[in-house]
Every structure is written in structure tokens, then in C-alpha cells.
Symmetry: C2
Subunit: 318 residues, 2 copies
């Protein structure tokens, strides 16, 4: 089923047998890379399994293999263009890239336009989630007017996140999926917390699969950082595992260039006598152990984190 | 062919359908992880695609999923045991590990014994190389007396590395392979530079596939560091790409715990006026760009690297 739906969404994005698909999603426990590999192989395209990171090498391989299609998070596609410019590549002459399939993160229309302009390519948003199958649930077509949902495999509903009531096409609510063909680990009415709208009209591309609009946000406090799902609670859990920390901490979400990054400020326990750098390192290791994400940790003085008489504001955007 | 030979070597190492195989080889362009994934899936075992790195998480997953078989480089298997002890795991009670399939690096018999003792498991050496197929060429059986070669797929010869003459079983020389069944990219008499000996006697395990002894070294200056193939020439190439470097450099191979590591010392060009940390960082980035390996770089004073009147000794073992 996965190869089938992945091949379908990649074909919709224009990927064919002659294409060379650079798979810059992170291989490992993250579903993205494995799904795109299966889809590209089913189409018969060449897969260049670069995994994430090492941007200099990504660009060198992209040039040497004449990569025509790229799969990665949107922030990484933008970052790669930045590095390519800095390294003196002539993007138009040095690369043969035509298409990028981005996903695994929320990305604005501005971000999408920026990636398309910098690379001179089309980008295709796609949607999916580990609990349902990974990528492969829906994808943009060449009209770029919403994402076609593979409803023969995933039954879709949009509900009011508060009441649970099923909404009509055109109404904004939470996407809910039921798997129709998946074996061993089916999901029934899985609530995604992702907000979107179903589109009623037929698409001018001719495909009859129904569509939803690009994601409009979340109904909870989940963040995506470099393709990794982060709940503030997981960071709290990591901090609390380390001896010498207090319950006063703050998560700061900020932009470094186009990449969304996190850093964490933690007050030590009043009785803490040890080395602050060592404490920061241990917190960082614990966060990495849980999230597989390197997050900067700063140990601040006691009293530096604003106290709250109600619900503490744990996540700050800078 | 690859799934077939991988399933065969993994079955030889005792891996069955009910096993849970933690695939801690690095996914990406490195062949190891992809091959072991295909083999385990053909057997029907569960694959936990952790990829390399993040040892805390590897151990947590190994415990939670009750991993029974592990695939990784030998140095990483040893390192994981060290970290497990440090983190307070009770190796016998917390883990269900039975088997480790290690490869992609030369490892001594002492290292093998150490891994087996620390984990309380059996280890199975396996051999393969990217130019032939990746892993899947040969593997130890339960007798642990040499590696059975899949000669129905890979025709083997042992030659004198100097004269090219084909040697007899029992004589030490360079392994040479010809692929018999591989399509699209066959190899004919590929010289591996790996030194070994063919074994004439039949194995008491009953398998009739011929064997070779565990690798006895290299006929060239190739090194393996954390599973990555490194030729000194590649490091030289990276250094020379960076403006401000001289032709005086040295590669130091050292042990950090059980892991083999590299660092590089470079003299700046006499005319170099910039920041040394910045120069070191640029060299490090170039090496990473070529090798996908983080290597420490130190900028030393002019004259610090011993000069040679003959062949410069570029690689030092500490």
C-alpha cells in the first residue's frame, strides 16, 4: 500500500522513470525517507539516498548526478539554496532540478514562493503522518490548488475540534482519517489535530480525488523543527530527568535564516552546586535522546524566568 | 540478488522471522543499512531502522522493543555497551539481545571477544564491499571459523598483490571478486586490496560454501573510521581546497575509548593572515563535505610538522 500511494503522489508531482530523485529526508525512524524511496523505486526512478544533513555534499551530488527531483523539508530546501549561492554555484547552470516535494513541516505560501524562485522549480506540498502511514496521504497536483487525498486508501472527515461534529466542505476544522486498506496497524477515525478545509469543486487537472487546502495550523501545541515533531511536554520530561534542574524553564522558538530552531532556558535547582556547563550538556543529551534533535540549552540565574500565576507560557516565539 | 544474499547471511547468523533487528548502520549513501534492511525484511524479521548515532536513544529503543539482533560497526557495538553501563542499565536484565552482526571495519579477535562478553551475545563477522554489492559477500557461521562466501553469486580468487598471480588455498593474498548474477553494474575480477586466506577444509557446520579467514589487513593505505572509508588522499584534497593552507599536514589516527578517530594538523600558508579558528572550521567543513565524517582540525605553527626528504609520513598512529 505504501509504495502504491507514494508512487501515486510522486507521479502527480511529475516524477517519472527517467528522473533522479535525491532523497534528503532523514533516514532512520522518521517515515519520510523510507516512503519516498519506495515510491520512487516503484516508478522506476533513480534514488540517491543522501539522507539529511551535510549540505556541501548534497549540492555536490545534486550537481554530479544531475538530480531532477528533490525530497526534503521545506526549510531544508530553502537552506540548500542559500548555501548553494554562498558556495558560488550558478543555480541555473549547475543544477538540473525541476521539482521539489516538500513536507513534514508547516510552510507558508511565502516560503513556497521563495523556494520556487531561488531554485527555479515547482514545489509540491504533500501531507501524511506516521500514525496513518507516513507520507502518501495527499499531494498537490500541477494546478497547485489544494492537495488531492488518496481516499481509496484513507477515508477523510473534517470535524469541529471542540465538539467532534463532522463539518461540511468549506468549513475549517480538524482532519480525521480512517485507513481502508492498511493491514496489521489500521487506524479508525484518527484525529490529526491538523486544521484544514475540504474543497468541494472539481479540480481542473481532471483528477477526481477530493482535495483539502494546505494546512492552516494545529489544534494543539505541537511544533515541527527540522522535520521532527516536538511537544513542549517532551522537553519538560527531558529537563526533569536531569538532577539539579528546577521546574522553571522556557522554550524559545526562533528563526536562524529560514530554519526554525529551538533553544531552552533552564533555572537550576536552588541547591545545585555543580558546573553549569555540565548541567546544560546533560539536559541537551537528554533532549537529544528523546527527540533526536540538538537543542541549545542555557542555564540562567534563579528568578530569570518569568513566573506565572496561571498557565505558564512555556513556548516563546522570537 | 541483494535481498537474497543478505537474507542468507543473516539466516546463517541465526536471525529468524521472530527476531527484532535493530539496524544501527548509518542509512544514507552507505550501503550497509539498506542491505541489512532488505535481508531482514526477506526473512520476515522486524526492522527497527535507528540508523547510526544517538546512543541514549538506541539503548532506550533496544530495551523497549526487546531487540534480539543488532547490526552496526564493531566499534559502535562496543561503545554502546560502555554507554549502557554508564547509564546504569543492567545489560543482562534490561536487554534481550542475542546476536550482533558487525562489519564495515576491521576488528581484532580481542575486540570481538570484548563485545561478546560485555553484551553476553554471539557476534558474526560479515564481509562485503560497495563495489561488489555492499554487505552480503560472506559471513561467519555458528562455528566461527572463517566466513562462508556466497560463491554462487560472487566468484572468488586470492592473488599475490604484487604479481597478480592466483594463489592456492592456505596462502595469504588479496581477495578478488567477480559478480556472477548482478545486473546493470557487474564487476569482473575486482581487486579489493583486502588481505585474507581461502580455507580448504569443509566446515563442520555442514555448509558447503567455501570460506576465507577474517581479514588480515590491507594492501593499501585505506582506513575505516566509524564505518566510513577514508583514504589519506581524500583528506589532502579537502585541505588543498581551502585557501590559506600549506602542503604540510598530518593525519593522526587515535583511539577514543574503543572508537578509532582521526584528527588533522595543518600548517597555514606563510602568507595567511586570517583567523585560525575560522581556517580550521573551513577545513573541517570540506572534509565533512567529502567524507561525511567530522574530523578535528588543528592549525599548528609553521614548522611544527616534521619535514621529510623522502616519502612524507602522512598518517601517524597514536
Amino acid at each position: 500500500v505504501w509504495s502504491e500511494v507514494m508512487a501515486r503522489i510522486m507521479y502527480t508531482a511529475g516524477i517519472r522513470k527517467k528522473d533522479r530523485f535525491q532523497n534528503a529526508f532523514g533516514y532512520g525512524l522518521f517515515t519520510g525517507a523510507h516512503g519516498f524511496e519506495k515510491g520512487a523505486q516503484k516508478i522506476g526512478a533513480l534514488v540517491i539516498p543522501t539522507s539529511s544533513g551535510n549540505t556541501l555534499r548534497q549540492l555536490q551530488l545534486m550537481k554530479d548526478f544531475e538530480t531532477t527531483a528533490l525530497g526534503c523539508t521545506p526549510s531544508y530546501a530553502a537552506y540548500m539554496a542559500e548555501v548553494a549561492e554562498k558556495e558560488g554555484y550558478d543555480i541555473e547552470k549547475d543544477f538540473k532540478l525541476k521539482v521539489a516535494m516538500c513536507g513534514a513541516e508547516a510552510w507558508s505560501d511565502e516560503m513556497k514562493r521563495k523556494i520556487e524562485e531561488k531554485w527555479g522549480i515547482s514545489t509540491f506540498d504533500n501531507y501524511g503522518l506516521t500514525e496513518i502511514i507516513g507520507p502518501g496521504v495527499s499531494v498537490e497536483c500541477e494546478e497547485h490548488d489544494g492537495l488531492h487525498i488518496n481516499v481509496d486508501h484513507f477515508y477523510v472527515e473534517v470535524i469541529d475540534p471542540k465538539t467532534g461534529e463532522v463539518l461540511e466542505p468549506g468549513e475549517k476544522g480538524e482532519l480525521v482519517f480512517t485507513t481502508l486498506t492498511k493491514e496489521a496497524f489500521p487506524s479508525i477515525r484518527f484525529r490529526t489535530k491538523d486544521l484544514s478545509i475540504l474543497i468541494e469543486d472539481e479540480c481542473s487537472c481532471g483528477r477526481t480525488l477530493p482535495r483539502h487546502v494546505r494546512l492552516l495550523g494545529r489544534a494543539d501545541d505541537m511544533m515541527k523543527v527540522r522535520g521532527v515533531i516536538v511537544f513542549p511536554k517532551q522537553i519538560e520530561e527531558a529537563i526533569m530527568k536531569v538532577e539539579g534542574t528546577s521546574e522553571n524553564y522556557q522554550i524559545i522558538k526562533y528563526k536562524s535564516g529560514v530554519m526554525t530552531q529551538l533553544k531552552v532556558k533552564v533555572e537550576p535547582d536552588p541547591g545545585f552546586k555543580g558546573d553549569k556547563n555540565d548541567l546544560a550538556k546533560r539536559i541537551q543529551d537528554q533532549i537529544y535522546g528523546i527527540l533526536n534533535l540538538k537543542v541549545g540549552v542555557e542555564i540562567v540565574n534563579i528568578g530569570d524566568i518569568p513566573r506565572s500565576t496561571g498557565k505558564a507560557k512555556r513556548v516563546i516565539e522570537e
